[in-house]
Symmetry: C2
Subunit: 482 residues, 2 copies
């Protein structure tokens, strides 16, 4: 008790001065310093907001915001109804990997399909397989086998099949990215790219910064390395830049993970101004950026802006792009365009992971690119999914009650819905599932799993008629919770 | 100096008594205890062999053997000419992954082939692509696409395509293994299986026991987890069982990694007695076993013994089998047959790693198994490679000088050669490469990289004529070093 009393006294001594740095940021910095120097131990309860505000002579909102910032940084844990406490500094490595079935649910529409047959699946983002031309694929495969014979089944190098790396480097010019085939690392899907980046760059206790919410597969990969995670709130223009800068300054992350186009799960795309500011900040605070450009092709009414990699003057952007996601997801093919300094390191981790990606898949996709079939495929996808997307968007607007909100993305295959206040997303999804509708609970998308009021809703595997059935169940479920 | 003196005094107090436990084992135990309790700090030099032998009143050979055991356990480092010192206890995680090009060299015959064109490659173990029937593969692929249409390109579950898991479970009966499809986890090649096992089971500082020498890809995967590695010497019947038991008792490893059939790189196969004894010891000391059965099909004159998994009465064997290695290496397909208790954990790590293995590859290989084409493929391989293997073996016997030795495996695609005394393998391989012959330096196969007098020589990618050219260069290189 005495020592708690002494620690509380520490707050009284905090001096805030009006000036360039906002008061809340000064307060957050001061508290963080006390945590880092051990004055405030893990588990120590922070003073109640009103009490501290009074002592310091500031507005309670200032204290709330300072606590919120520390919470986003994972340094303070907020407990419903019982205030905030200092978080454990040491993040344990996931020696007992948690159940990652949610990761599979949101990617694979056939996951546990047998147990849920008949349900409308608005949980998974995955293309309807029929968008792929089997005949075209067969033709290309046949040509590869004619050309390469049994060599098509041999190992390729760990870095990847050179002709494919050449095709990709050439293709990247369309995005304004100048790349050399030597910078391209072929990988078996985007998840592998994130996992390799985590293994190559992060050690236990390193800090990594992501959007909040973000892709759960990235959260899992970073946590498996024992990294400290900081989630920066998303706004319609991209991450909150004030919070981003404050956390860069305070936590000096080694790696930042962003999806600047049609962010998963919000669907927001970054403005050009935000992109430029981010590159400037990353240069100043010297962090690596992992840019996941998973969905850029599926912007419907305008082209996506150039990736951050195109603005990368000091070679710090690790550009990650999956082809298979909007082509043939089961083929597992993606690539990284890497900074020079990271080439050897990433290749070593790739070797450790699985030696090399399937050579046959690489040869087929290379020929597909060389025959310039990709642009027509993308145009077809935009036509098919654009119609469905706008339809779903319009119907959702009609259905959602006034106390729920939804995002209006430029593209993609899903919507991010904020449920009415006090509706718990897990309970909501369970109720919808009982009625025959699968939805993605939004909480696994939060780095610290704290936000429980959102769902992600996708139309990508459904017909318009199925979308109608799904939305009708959604409406009933909403009524049930109102 | 005073404290070193005091530490040296500690040795004087060691009491050895003649009895059931050999003197060297008592001595090793006593020294280990002093290391573990901090009496002997990292970097502390152990007393010279003769001096300690004299003080303790034992044969110098007893001290040598005790030091050697501690060295195998990674607890003591032996420095040429300057005695032994206590090793650092803390093994750092490989945050800067080392250059794993040797891992690629020994698997992929085309690795950096452009820079070495014209050289005879006896370094890589990989099948000549021509052993695969392209026509057959095309037929099966075509049937899969007719049957499954675009679904062939969809995700499969992380665990793997159910019909393939059923085919594999049925196939395992041929090995005397009773398996349920629910126990099978499909993976993208054997390296991925080892890496997933390391991530699922090992934490920093955990102990893992392997054969010495062993597969470098496994060493890399275990080290990347920050595991302590213990290498147990190989004998023609399998690992040295006395050393195995002593180290099990002393270090209580969490995981043991063995290749009981045609071990890589020695080519030795375990006797039935050794297999039974190993299973008994693992039960007693309660460790997981990762059994890598990568080459069982290629025993030439007799069938391989049943895998340890067939003797696994208490569900502790993680059975790892690559199909692609002796089928189509570029396809990247293997499986694990898992203990019940590990199913969920391994599936989670698989999701984290790459979500799922290529569905098309799984569908093709499933049909291949269902049509029962695998046995004929294996019989063909045995015929083709058996002839070549025996030829290479005979010619090697003629060529090797009397102070070099080679192993005489029951099968496989390579030989393990002990060079004449004082010939350094790296220097030898460099000299051979200059003359146009690529050989695998044996030192990366040792967990602690300490043994520098071996090479691995493979004939698998060569014609008999190329084998002759290679061996002729080998002979010249040997002459150069004699």
């Amino acid at each position: 008790m005495t020592s708690e009393r002494a620690q509380f006294d520490a707050f009284v001594s905090i001096q805030l001065t009006k000036g360039k740095t906002p008061l809340y940021a000064q307060l957050a910095d001061a508290i963080l310093e006390k945590i880092d120097t051990g004055v405030l131990a893990p588990g120590y309860p922070l003073p109640p907001v009103r009490q501290l505000a009074k002592v310091l002579g500031v507005n309670p909102g200032t204290v709330v915001r300072a606590y919120k910032e520390l919470e986003q940084g994972g340094r303070v844990i907020s407990r419903q109804g019982s205030g905030s406490v200092v978080a454990e500094r040491q993040i344990a490595v996931d020696s007992e990997p948690r159940d990652l079935s949610s990761l599979e649910e949101i990617t694979n529409p056939e996951y546990e399909a047998e147990a849920e047959s008949g349900a409308v699946n608005m949980r998974s983002i995955s293309l309807n397989p029929d968008v792929v031309s089997i005949r075209q694929f067969r033709g290309i495969l046949s040509d590869v086998l004619d050309r390469d014979g049994a060599r098509a089944f041999s190992y390729t190098t760990s870095q990847g099949f050179l002709p494919l790396r050449e095709s990709i480097a050439a293709y990247l010019e369309n995005y304004g990215v100048k790349a050399d085939p030597a910078q391209i690392q072929i990988i078996s899907g985007a998840q592998q790219g994130i996992d390799i980046a985590a293994r190559a760059l992060l050690n236990r206790g390193d800090t990594v910064m992501t959007e909040s919410p973000t892709y759960p597969g990235a959260i899992a990969a970073f946590r498996a390395r024992g990294a400290q995670m900081i989630g920066i709130p998303m706004t319609p223009d991209g991450i909150d830049l004030t919070s981003f800068e404050a956390h860069l300054r305070r936590f000096r992350p080694r790696l930042v993970y962003l999806m600047p186009n049609i962010q998963n799960p919000t669907g927001y795309s970054y403005s050009l101004a935000a992109r430029q500011r981010i590159m400037g900040l990353l240069r100043f605070y010297d962090a690596w950026l992992l840019e996941d450009d998973y969905m850029r092709e599926l912007t419907y009414d305008k082209d996506a802006l150039a990736p951050l990699k195109a603005l990368d003057r000091d070679d710090r952007v690790i550009y990650l792009k999956s082809f298979s996601k909007i082509f043939m997801p089961g083929l597992r093919l993606a690539f990284l365009c890497l900074p020079q300094a990271l080439l050897a390191r990433f290749r070593s981790v790739k070797r450790l992971t699985d030696i090399a990606t399937s050579g046959l898949t690489q040869r087929v996709f290379d020929l597909y690119l060389r025959r310039n079939l990709w642009p027509a495929h993308v145009a077809n996808l935009r036509r098919v999914y654009g119609t469905q997307f706008r339809y779903t968007e319009r119907r959702l607007e009609e259905i959602l009650p006034s106390d729920a909100t939804m995002t209006h993305p430029d593209g993609g295959l899903s919507f991010w819905i904020t449920l009415p206040p006090n509706v718990d997303a897990a309970a909501f999804c369970a109720e919808a599932a009982k009625r025959g509708l699968l939805l993605a609970d939004g909480s696994p998308f939060y780095p610290h799993g704290t936000d429980r009021g959102h769902i992600r809703l996708s139309h990508s595997t459904l017909t318009l008629q199925q979308v109608e059935s799904g939305l009708s169940i959604l409406q009933q479920t909403l009524a049930r919770f109102s």
